[in-house]
Symmetry: C2
Subunit: 147 residues, 2 copies
C-alpha cells in the first residue's frame, strides 16, 4: 500500500542518500496539502540539528508564520531521535506518522518514549510502520554500500 505523503518522504530520503547523507526524509501536511518536504542534511550543512524533521518544522513555521503547528501532521521515514521528538512536542504537531523504527536512537518507543509521556504538555497521535519495508530498505542499502 502506498501512502502518498510517505511516498514523498521516501523520495526526499533518496535525495539525502544521493548526497551521502543518512537517508531520512520528512513531509509536513496541512489540510491534506504538503507544506514542507525535506531530507537530512547533517553532512552537507555541517549542522548537528539539520535532521529532516527539524528542517521540515523550520520550513512549516516559516511558511505559516507561527510556531504552533497543531493543525499539521508530520510524516518521516525513520523513528525520530530525542531532538526531533522534542521538536514535535514543542511545535504541537497533531499527528506523527513514521516508517521504520530506530532501535539505536529512537525516541518514540525504541530507546525512550517521549511522545507518550503525559508529563509533557503535548502528546501527538502516533502511527508507526507506514511503508516500513521501503523506509527500512533505503537505510539498509545505504549502510551496506558504505561498508
Amino acid at each position: 500500500m502506498i501512502n502518498p505523503y510517505m511516498e514523498i518522504a521516501i523520495q526526499e530520503a533518496r535525495k539525502a542518500a544521493e548526497k551521502g547523507e543518512v537517508p531520512v526524509g520528512a513531509v509536513i501536511v496541512k489540510d491534506r496539502l504538503i507544506i514542507s518536504r525535506t531530507h537530512n542534511l547533517r553532512e552537507t550543512t555541517g549542522n548537528a540539528t539539520a535532521h529532516a524533521e527539524i528542517l521540515a518544522i523550520n520550513e512549516a513555521c516559516r511558511i505559516l508564520g507561527r510556531w504552533r503547528l497543531d493543525d499539521c501532521d508530520l510524516y518521516v521515514t525513520l523513528e525520530p531521535c530525542p531532538m526531533c521528538a522534542g521538536a514535535i512536542i514543542n511545535a504541537r504537531i497533531r499527528r506523527l506518522y513514521f516508517g521504520a523504527s530506530d532501535p539505536k536512537a529512537g525516541a518514540v518507543g525504541s530507546v525512550v518514549d517521549l511522545l507518550r509521556m503525559r508529563a509533557f504538555n503535548h502528546t501527538p497521535e502516533i502511527y508507526e510502520g507506514i511503508m516500513e519495508s521501503q523506509c527500512r530498505e533505503l537505510l539498509t542499502e545505504f549502510f551496506r554500500a558504505r561498508r
Copy 2:
C-alpha cells in the same frame, strides 16, 4: 560566585525577556572563548525550534564548519527540554552547564534524564545549579510580570 560564561548567558536571557520571550540564554565555549551567544526567540521568529540552545549549536556549527562539537561546552540558564537535550547528544557537546532546573519540561533529570542514558551514543559531563538563583529569578520575574 560569578561564572563568567553563565553571566553572559544570563545577559542573553535578559535580552529575551526584553522581547517578551521566555528568558533563557545560552553560550558555547571552545578553548575558553565564547563562539556563540544566543537567547530564546520562539515568539520573535515564530519558530518552535528557536530555543537558545538550538540557536547556539546552529551558530557554533556554522562558525566551525562541522556538526561535531566534541571540543565545545554549552552554558544555558535553564535545564534543557527534550529537543535541546537531544541536540546536545547529536552535536556531541563535551560539557553541559545549566542554571535553574525545569520541573515541567526538563530533560536532564527533572521529567526525563536523556543525557545520562547510556543507550545513546554520547553522554556529556553535566554540571547543574550554576548561578541557579540568578537564573531562576529571571524566570520568576518574567512570569510574575505577565500575570
